[in-house]
Amino acid sequence: MHQVRLIRSSTFLWALAVAAAFALFVVALFTFVYWKLDDYLIARSDRMITTQIHFIADLPPARRISAIADHLEQDSRGVQYAGLFDAAGIRLAGNIDHLPRELGLGGAVQGVRLDLKGRPAVQVPVVRAIGRRLDGGDVLVMGRNVDETREISSVVGEALALGLLPAFSLCLVAGAWLSARAQKRVEEVNQRVQRIVAGELRERLPEGGTDDPFARLAAIVNGMLDEMETMINALAGVGNDIAHDLRTPLTRVRLALERGRTHAATLEELQDITDKAMAGIDQSLAIVTALLRLTEIENNRRMAGFGEVALDEILREVCDVYEPIAEDKLIGLGVVIARNVQVWGDRDLLFEAVANLVDNAVKFTPSGGRVELALEAEDDTALVRVRDTGPGISEQEREAVLRRFYRSDTMRNTPGVGLGLSLVAAIVKLHGFRLIIGPAPGGQIEILARIGRTGRAVTRRSRTLVHADSD
């Protein structure tokens, strides 16, 4: 089964195709080489016998017979043929038995069968020969055996065939190896993906140490899996947080109602119990509402309400709203506006973001402290700063405070659902602004905004949250 799969695999089939193409190419090359070689050797033979016939023909008749004898004597390989015949066709000299009939005597070289003196008829070779009638009626024939050309060609052919077979086999072996390797990797990826699907979120695809496309693809997919794992864990965390944060007020409600049902003796007591239960339900609803708002903002569904917004007005208004609350806690609340600034955004959302920051500042600043709002502007950037004399946010908590439902130990007993800064971060992100959390002690949070209608982002690829001391 495994072998069948291997043979059917596309890698192996490709290797087979490449090997076949290679073999065809080699055969074609060999044919071409053979043809060129044959052509060259025959032309060379033709030139040689033409030269020889001219040489002997130009000799005086008395010298021709001895010249032919010398010529044949010097031919150690036995490939030269010569014959001198009288006008009646009687051989006068040479190793050609009789004048071939099909040989023209016009001085053109042609392939003919020559009957050789002292050789049986079965061994009559096909040779290149040239015939010429001489002065006085004699006929001179010169020839040369070209079988050696074919010998050379067959040697070359054999060599190529011997080389071709290992090359073809090597191609097939390489194809089979590559196919097996690819199949092994795919099989491994399949198994790992199945494990991921089954819920093993930490599983990753094998990248190997190579830099091939497969490894690069695996690296990209692993990056995606990292991101997804983070998001799924965050979601799971949020789910737990929601469950935990809803259970607390709902438990209070249940306990209050239970006690009321058992112990309330008067209408007033029952109303007290009911008030407590309703407060718990309101707290639960506040959590759900805040979560829905957060989702709504994070889903970027609020871009429709964007327009020119006067940041200075928002700051003054927030200050106006929170002044009595700060005063109640004996906290000084001031606003300093360097100049009026217009930004592109959703007025209500920006108001909510600044209000949340001020709300937090007032909530966490001890009595007798101070909260300051400031609006600064430089070139095309505006900076909203909310600073307080409270404990501030420690470096370890800077990322955590933006998480949904995060409530530090110091905040456990303060009212709220732990979504304020998450909302601020979501609003800031929606606007393409940046949130800068300053170092403790003393709280300091800044929103860095782009002035005017520039659409998105103070810096296009900047993160929403920046640590003040990271720049």
Binding site: L285, L292, A304, D320, V321, Y322, P324, I325, D359, P415
Partner: protein, 226 residues
């Protein structure tokens, strides 16, 4: 007696609303779907309507739109489980006069229905009177009898809003939306109480009859008629 038409498909919710409004002296008709609700609205011309957004057969906003096309001026309170700001804006654009997100306190619903039925006193007046209180909207001055009240701009707006709705229960949510223009629930939930406390401190001096009353668990009311 004010006649109110309630179009709500959830029987339990409808029964609770009908019972509460009937106890408060309203005559209530109930329709369980959009088509029946539209039909009843056209036949009986109620004084106010409470319309749920998601209804069988015809959704609430379509009902309101059809009525507005027929020149029905009946004030409508839209009920919805969709609490997103955009949904709220859409509900008001389609002809709703007020919008209440589920789940709601029954007292909130009653307060809003009463506010819809008793439109504020003529807003072309430049001087408002409520018992001993006098508010000059041009001069931006406030008096209680002979005593001048030193109000901050926000307090002035709050008092104006309350004087225009004399003897009406005003819930915290209503005040947040109308006076503070808040489109969200603020983190500090006692925001209104702090502001109201300061206003009350200025309006109701020592020894004077209390005009601004806190209605337990519901909101505030300005009672000028003692």
């Amino acid at each position: 007696m004010n006649r109110i038409l309630l179009i709500e498909d959830d029987t339990e919710t409808a029964e609770a609303i009908v019972a509460e409004l009937t106890d408060r002296g309203f005559e209530v008709q109930w329709a369980g779907d959009g088509v029946d609700g539209l039909d009843r609205a056209r036949r009986s011309s109620p004084d106010a309507m409470i319309v749920d957004r998601m209804l069988p057969k015809m959704d609430g906003l379509t009902v309101i739109e059809a009525l507005r096309k027929d020149q029905f001026r009946t004030p409508v309170l839209v009920l919805s489980a969709l609490g997103a700001v955009d949904d709220r804006v859409r509900g008001l654009r389609m002809g709703g006069d007020d919008y209440l997100t589920k789940p709601f306190a029954i007292i909130e619903l009653v307060a809003r229905i009463e506010a819809l039925l008793r439109r504020p006193t003529d807003d072309r007046k430049t001087i408002l009177h409520s018992g001993p209180l006098e508010l000059d909207l041009i001069e931006r001055t406030a008096r209680r009898g002979d005593r001048e009240l030193d109000l901050l701009p926000r307090e002035f707006r709050l008092l104006e809003y309350m004087m225009r709705r004399n003897d009406q229960l005003l819930t915290r949510a209503m005040l947040l939306e109308e006076v503070w223009n808040y489109k969200f629930v603020p983190a500090t939930t006692n925001l209104i109480d702090v502001h109201m406390g300061r206003l009350r401190h200025k309006v109701d001096g020592p020894g004077e009859v209390q005009l601004i009353h806190n209605v337990r668990g519901s909101g505030f009311v300005l009672r000028s008629r003692q």
